[in-house]
């Protein structure tokens, strides 16, 4: 490990895709829900459309077209439209809340819990996600993710890739920018972190989007560390 990286004291993690496999988790959860309720629908397509609306919806907040709202509320707005589109009928309000909270019930990739547990011995490990605090905290309990603290776009009322999120997280941890390393499976997230002076670690998650192409720009960007799992990241960081 380079001398420069030896200054790193905290790792902040993107969560959706980087730490948890949202796609498989949501499809399985909603298919099981559909079976329990006797509702047939293409839950996989609905899931992919739901996530497909994620960046465009956040971009409306980032561009100031709509006010900041927590991700749970943005998810719900999109969900209501998709339930109509996919012809899912007969749901109570409690059912809709339950479906919307599927984002609180995501499982880690197989290497996530052991990798984080190992990294936590050497570093402060925190989320730095667009998910709201309650979502991330409930997910951590559900999936057993051992965060030291839960940092969220909600705290800064800005979504990644706005610089306020990265700056705010380093400031809240009382660390210098180059003492904090952003960990993500999306290079534009890392590029935005590096622009604020943070260190970066890329974790490859080729299966994140299933059959659809990942909606992230292909960037000519090399992170300070690149790995195929959180275990390999721990190895490379000497944790």
């Amino acid at each position: 490990m380079s001398t420069e990286l030896s200054r790193v004291k905290a790792l902040t993690f993107d969560v959706f895709g980087t730490v948890v496999d949202w796609r498989t988790s949501i499809i399985r959860d909603l298919e099981a829900f559909g079976r329990r309720k006797g509702i047939k629908a293409d839950w996989a397509e609905l899931t992919d459309d739901w996530r497909g609306a994620y960046r465009p919806t956040l971009n409306k907040v980032i561009k100031g077209e709509i006010a900041f709202q927590r991700l749970d509320d943005l998810h719900r707005g999109v969900l209501d439209g998709l339930l109509e589109k996919f012809g899912v009928k007969g749901l109570s309000e409690a059912d809709k809340v339950h479906i919307n909270k599927v984002w609180h019930r995501l499982h880690g990739w197989p290497d996530s819990v052991p990798g984080l547990t190992r990294l936590k011995r050497k570093y402060l490990v925190a989320t730095l996600s667009n998910g709201n605090v309650a979502l991330l905290t409930n997910m951590a309990k559900f999936a057993g993710l051992p965060w030291d603290c839960v940092l969220s776009a909600e705290l800064f009322r800005h979504y990644k890739r706005d610089p306020e999120v990265y700056i705010g997280a380093c400031d809240m941890l009382c660390l210098k920018r180059d003492e904090v390393m952003m960990v993500a499976a999306h290079k534009d997230d890392l590029q935005a972190a590096r622009a604020q002076g943070m260190k970066t670690a890329y974790v490859e998650r080729p299966g994140e989007y299933g059959p659809r192409p990942a909606p992230y720009p292909k960037l000519d960007f090399t992170a300070d560390v690149e790995a195929k799992s959180l275990g390999e990241l721990a190895e490379k960081l000497g944790a």
Copy 2:
């Protein structure tokens, strides 16, 4: 347990005094520091004076006499005066930073880690402290406190007993007020939480202030649950 309390989903904890024994921890830490550096001083008196300045300093923020600053910075302002008062000389800036960060190096009461671990199985357990996020997170790593998330006055830019802190915490957890129980060793903290509709648990910590009287008002206030340890609290809550 009453039906009313069965609605509780999250416990938010006061930390200084309720979960950690700040006084014993700081005196031991600073005495060890003094021996290493060859500095003689009445570290116990300095500790008691330092904590003694806590409420008056926070009250200046609460009354709007000074702007919100994180607790680390308020602690440092008081510390600088006390080092002079107690004739502690020859410290580098790094030494002063180290001393100020003693509030990040506090040990739990003997029942704190086992009690929280038990309560965490049934409830979301979070801090709700005047300590800043970095302080609480570093302390959790130091003392092994298994928080699900770290909530702090810093997030709301108000100090307890301002209502914004209690309201903000329930809102951030996406829970109704009566689904959240404030746990504290100080009844005025609980009274302020109840005024916002939260449930309350009192934990008796008679040793918190050592030989000095506790600087909290004696209130005719009975919490929803009262216990002598976090283990007893878990017992009473069926956790």
